[in-house]
């Protein structure tokens, strides 16, 4: 098979290291193998061992990813101080026309190498965690199969060398997310949630698709490297034509990029396409960790980062859109997060808010050099966020595992029962609140700095959000672990053993120390090294505002009291609106149910049934009626027949003698 592919020149392998290509290819393929193995035979043969199989396969993947990342960052990736974009493997998957083809390939550059590590690592953590968390589930092997599918898809997405390849895996990620959210398929709420997630992201993907069509049409390629090269070199004809083509006064390039961004916004739950994310918490908690906190939701950020040169160099207007959407989402989600009582929903809104951070960091960034700080910061935050948000979710998972409820009101005082969870959760909270020296502090600092340098409005929004973040995280923390005393009922089953604790601890370490990674050395907008400056005086304000948030939360929630209710009452309008997520869901429901269904779907069905069908039936009925009408000619009267006979003869004679010669 391989020979045939090579012969037909569909498959290209860089001359440079077959091992690298193989290793890189194996990273996504191993989880895929896990999916196939467990999906096809898991129920029958690996009922109990599927978790181990999946985990082991992923472990290998993780090691390979580390190997690749190490090799890339420290051995061959950096040529003359600039990180190269390497394509060790490329398979022509579907050729539309000359030059325009979907290739399945592997693109290695700093962000994809970084993402490989993040995805495999978080996924591995989740795999391990799930060994205990999902133990005894009926569809245990299916679960691991789906996890494998998701990991495969996500890895395929991050290494995509071709924009269409990214779209392919983008969709696959969506569907694995759908399957995992709907894991508890007999719960109607889960079914609704998974459908919602899929459809909303699908809607956004429509934008992505059309964006791809626009970009590919003008650039004549789907390959990322070529695409970026053509659309960023000012003298290329392609760039000229895409800039000169315009619709509603906006250039085709801007349109294309905005549409692509809509796809990213959908997946990353940016306002107003965020509505699926909170509902997606219906899935098992480890799934939320993996998909809806650490990996899939940052795909949008990754996408913008992937096309960043084009955004930054050729379509700053589109980049502005990215920035503002990110900022709005960050603030918006933070406000809602303050009011939610379901702990996973709080975390979900927090995720949305943090991704907003990453987005606007990209939005305020420029290409190259010092101005590219936002880009580096965004990626940095992506990296650290993955750690602490995964930790938060897994911690929440432990809590839910213990309590069997998602609601804050059922919790409180758990610090005694769940000590490890408590500590790790606290670390994560500190990290996300931006308290030094935890990871979040460093990445957030850079983002705020970048925003401060380029866009003051966004900076202030970000600052407020930062305070709110600290507040709602500690609201959560205090509500779970402090507040009222817990009175456990029924049997007591500890923290869930080693399998659940080990990921927590590992991630806590990550959340604690990953901020010290000199990120700018590795990831920057133009591939060259970026010294990330550290301004002590600048970080006072964010840290201060974060501490204010933490202490407010402490004041309100550490002990059970009625202060929160009072405040909620005094802010009743705002509180209610935020509690109801600003009624965005209702708005969507109105649009879909009332407008789409009633104004388009129903008329279409009606039209089909009555007009189109009706016409056909009417033709039939009309013929029958007509046939009934003329039956009088066949009256059975002999003499009438003779009269018709004569009349016909004479009539025809007249016609042909006088009229129709």
């Amino acid at each position: 098979m391989k020979e045939i592919l090579l012969q037909s020149q569909l498959l290209q392998v860089l001359p440079f290291g077959k091992n690298l290509a193989l290793a890189a290819a194996l990273i996504p393929l191993l989880p895929l193998a896990g999916f196939l193995l467990l999906g096809l035979f898991g129920r029958k043969y690996f009922k109990n061992t599927s978790g181990i199989i999946g985990t082991l396969l992923l472990l290998v993947s993780t090691l390979l990813a580390l190997y690749i990342a190490y090799g890339y960052f420290f051995q061959y990736g950096n040529v003359n101080g600039v990180y190269q974009k390497l394509v060790p493997l490329k398979l022509t998957w579907l050729e539309f026309s000359k030059g325009l083809s979907i290739d399945i390939g592997i693109l290695l550059d700093p962000i994809s190498a970084m993402m490989l590590v993040v995805v495999t690592f978080i996924s591995l953590m989740v795999h391990i965690y799930s060994l205990a968390y999902m133990k005894g589930e009926e569809r245990f092997s299916t679960y691991y199969a789906f996890l494998g599918l998701f990991t495969f898809s996500m890895l395929g997405l991050v290494v995509a060398s071709n924009i269409f390849q990214m779209y392919i895996f983008w969709e696959l990620v969506g569907v694995s997310s759908f399957l995992l959210i709907g894991y508890y398929y007999d719960k109607p709420s889960a079914v609704a949630a998974c459908k919602k997630a899929f459809i909303v992201t699908r809607f956004a993907d429509l934008g992505f698709l059309i964006g791809i069509l626009i970009l590919s049409f003008y650039s004549g390629t789907l390959d990322f490297n070529t695409l970026i090269a053509t659309l960023t070199s000012p003298e290329s004809n392609e760039l000229k034509s895409i800039l000169s083509a315009s619709f509603l006064g906006i250039s085709a390039l801007t349109w294309g990029l905005i549409l692509v961004f809509i796809g990213g916004a959908g997946k990353s739950a940016m306002f107003p396409l965020h509505i699926w994310l909170p509902d997606a918490m219906e899935g098992p908690t480890p799934v939320s960790t993996l998909i809806h906190a650490a990996t899939m939701v940052v795909a949008g950020v990754f996408l913008v980062a992937r096309l960043f040169p084009v955004f930054a160099l050729s379509a700053p207007a589109a980049l502005n859109v990215v920035g503002y959407v990110g900022a709005v989402s960050a603030l918006f989600a933070a406000v809602i997060a303050c009011t939610q009582t379901d702990i996973k929903r709080v975390l979900a809104y927090s995720t949305m808010s943090q991704i907003g951070y990453m987005m606007f960091a990209l939005g305020v960034s420029k290409y190259g050099g010092e101005d590219g700080l936002g880009y580096t910061a965004s990626m940095f935050h992506l990296f650290t966020h993955a750690m602490f948000k995964a930790l938060l979710f897994l911690g929440a998972g432990s809590v839910i595992h213990f309590i069997h409820s998602n609601e804050m009101k059922d919790m409180g005082g758990l610090r005694k029962y769940l000590p490890i969870t408590h500590i790790t959760f606290l670390i994560a909270c500190l990290a996300i609140a931006g308290v030094p020296p935890f990871a979040g502090f460093f990445s957030k600092e850079e983002i705020l700095l970048a925003a401060y340098q380029h866009n003051q409005t966004i900076y202030w929004v970000a600052l407020i959000t930062s305070g709110l973040t600290a507040f709602y995280m500690f609201r959560l923390y205090f509500n779970i672990f402090w507040s009222r005393e817990h009175h456990p009922h029924g049997e007591h089953h500890g923290e869930g053993g080693f399998a659940m604790m080990m990921p927590l601890v590992l991630l806590a370490v990550g959340a604690a120390v990953s901020g010290f990674v000199p990120f700018g050395n590795f990831v920057s907008s133009d591939g060259s090294k970026l010294e990330s400056p550290f301004h002590l005086q600048f970080s006072i304000a964010p840290v201060a505002i974060g501490l204010v948030g933490i202490f407010t939360a402490m004041w309100l929630y550490k002990k059970q009291n009625n202060r929160p209710d009072k405040i909620a009452a005094s802010l009743s309008g705002l509180y209610k609106a935020a509690y109801h997520k600003f009624y965005i869901d209702e708005l969507y429901l109105f649009i879909t149910k009332k407008i789409l269904f009633n104004l388009i779907g129903r008329p279409a069905a009606w039209f089909d049934k009555n007009v189109v069908d009706g016409l056909v039936n009417a033709t039939g009925d009309g013929t029958a009626v007509f046939s009934e009408k003329i039956k009088g000619f066949q009256s059975g009267k002999l003499q009438q027949y003779a009269i018709y006979f004569l009349a016909a003869v004479v009539g025809l004679a007249v016609v042909f003698i006088y009229l129709w010669k």
Partner: protein, 104 residues
């Protein structure tokens, strides 16, 4: 008084023809309808003879046609009458309007 010629004969035969046709259309008795048919055939005969006499006397085609028509008329009449008699047996009537069972 004009000396009779071809056109007189044709007028006669065509009149006879349409008198027969009229009879065929309006007579309700089957036997009288048959009589109308005989009138029609006679008019045709007259036509043939007239054409033969006035236009094409070189050959006797018209004459022979007439002879054969007369023979056929006899055969036809015989069969028709047989059928009518049978109809009379089954319907007990030879009114054409009683034989209108088959229709539409």
């Amino acid at each position: 008084m004009i000396t009779p010629g071809l056109y007189h004969l044709l007028f006669l035969s065509i009149s006879l023809f349409f008198i027969g046709v009229y009879g065929f259309f309006t007579r309700r008795n089957l036997v009288t309808m048959l009589m109308s048919i005989e009138l029609i055939l006679n008019s045709v005969n007259l036509n043939f003879i007239a054409f033969n006499k006035y236009l094409w006397p070189n050959r006797l085609d018209g004459l022979f046609f007439t002879i054969f028509i007369i023979a056929i008329a006899a055969a036809e009449a015989a069969v028709a009458i047989a059928i009518i008699i049978n109809l009379y047996r089954t319907h007990n009537s030879i009114d054409v309007e009683d034989a209108e069972q088959l229709k539409y």
